[in-house]
Amino acid sequence: MEVDIAQALARLAPALGGTGVEGAQRLSGGASMETWAFTLTGPGGPHEMILRRRPGPFDEETSRSTSLATEAALIQAAAKVGAPVAPLIRLCEPGDGLGEAHITARIAGEALGRKIVADPRFEAVRPGLARQCGQILAQIHSASPEGIPLKRSDAAEELDRYEQVYRQSGAQRPILELAFQHLKKHTPAPVADVLLHGDFRNGNLMISPDTGVAAVLDWELSHLGDPAEDLGWLCVNSWRFGRSDKPVGGFGDYGDLLAGYAEAGGVAVDLSRVRYWQALGSLKWGVMCLMMYSSYAAGAESSVERPMIGRRVSETEIDLANLLEAGL
């Protein structure tokens, strides 16, 4: 049955500390996750909020993503160590009539990567973003995962998982093949696991034109693992939005990222380890692009967007060839 979101939110208003709800509007078109913006009204003035809800069933055991309850716990754990997040307002209960869902504050700013790297509004904060990201990642990595049901992974396991997907796709891509073999042969020495964000990149960061990173969004891929995984993912060329000369998110340099990380108490991480994970990130993104094409080819998705994403594999090939030529 279709849920009337505006009505359910209006019924929930007192529990959120208001009297009514205005302007409930769906923001993104993801099939497995809905995001809604709304305004809570009441004597305390209007409050901008975000509802995230999963309309369908979900099995946390077998999924790569976390449940929304786990995401809520992650947001709280990150807030506790001082990382900027959109604060949790409510983890919804069955009686709320919204299904699996949570509500957070809506943080003002811009999350579109191409605007963050190019829009003049962000000129003032842009030079400081890489250092800020390093500091925030050190904070996140210091958060306690206690009581949060997270999976763990390392480079070898990630390679294994994505290699299986690649083999199943039936695609023959020499550079992806080379990258799998090369990265398997050069896996970095093990380090102590930390709590990772799992998708920390330009596009999942709410940026304020006045203060820089205002909130880290989208925690659903969080897991335990190598701190360099988060640092490297932020540097994958696919999220530099045309500014490939700025390795950190299209806005900064490796040195600032690592300096920020060390300043905020992060363990010492070699640039070579970040570059290794950056290459693994490009390889993963290449395989994800193949997966999205496969879901179209299998008839599971019909949007014109899906097959076109399959043509983004070559961007990861050129990036991987460059990284391999540079000796990573």
Binding site: Q172, L178, S303, S314, E317, D319, N322, E325
Partner: protein
Amino acid sequence: MITHPRTEELVEAVARWIDTIRPELKPRDAFLARVAVNVLGVVQRELTLGPAAEADAIERMSGLLGHGGGYEDLTAELCARLKSGELDADTPGLLAALRANAQDQVAIDQPNYSSAR
């Protein structure tokens, strides 16, 4: 193939028409229409650049493998020899050849992509 019009001209005409109606579409359809125009761009470039790119890729792969053949067979053999470790990043000329192939493919798929050296 006939030339009045050439296939790539037909594709270009459709892309131009989609561009003219985009402003009237709802946001989701306007987004998908932009994707559709990009798809037609790929088709157009594959028609014009594809044959030379494939011939060059065949030549580069033949050089690496020491014999000629069709694009798919050469690609499959190259993948198999990379998987077995017989060829790797240290093989002379390998990275340069693969890089050139990828560069030609990106020129078809996303000519404005800014790759990081």
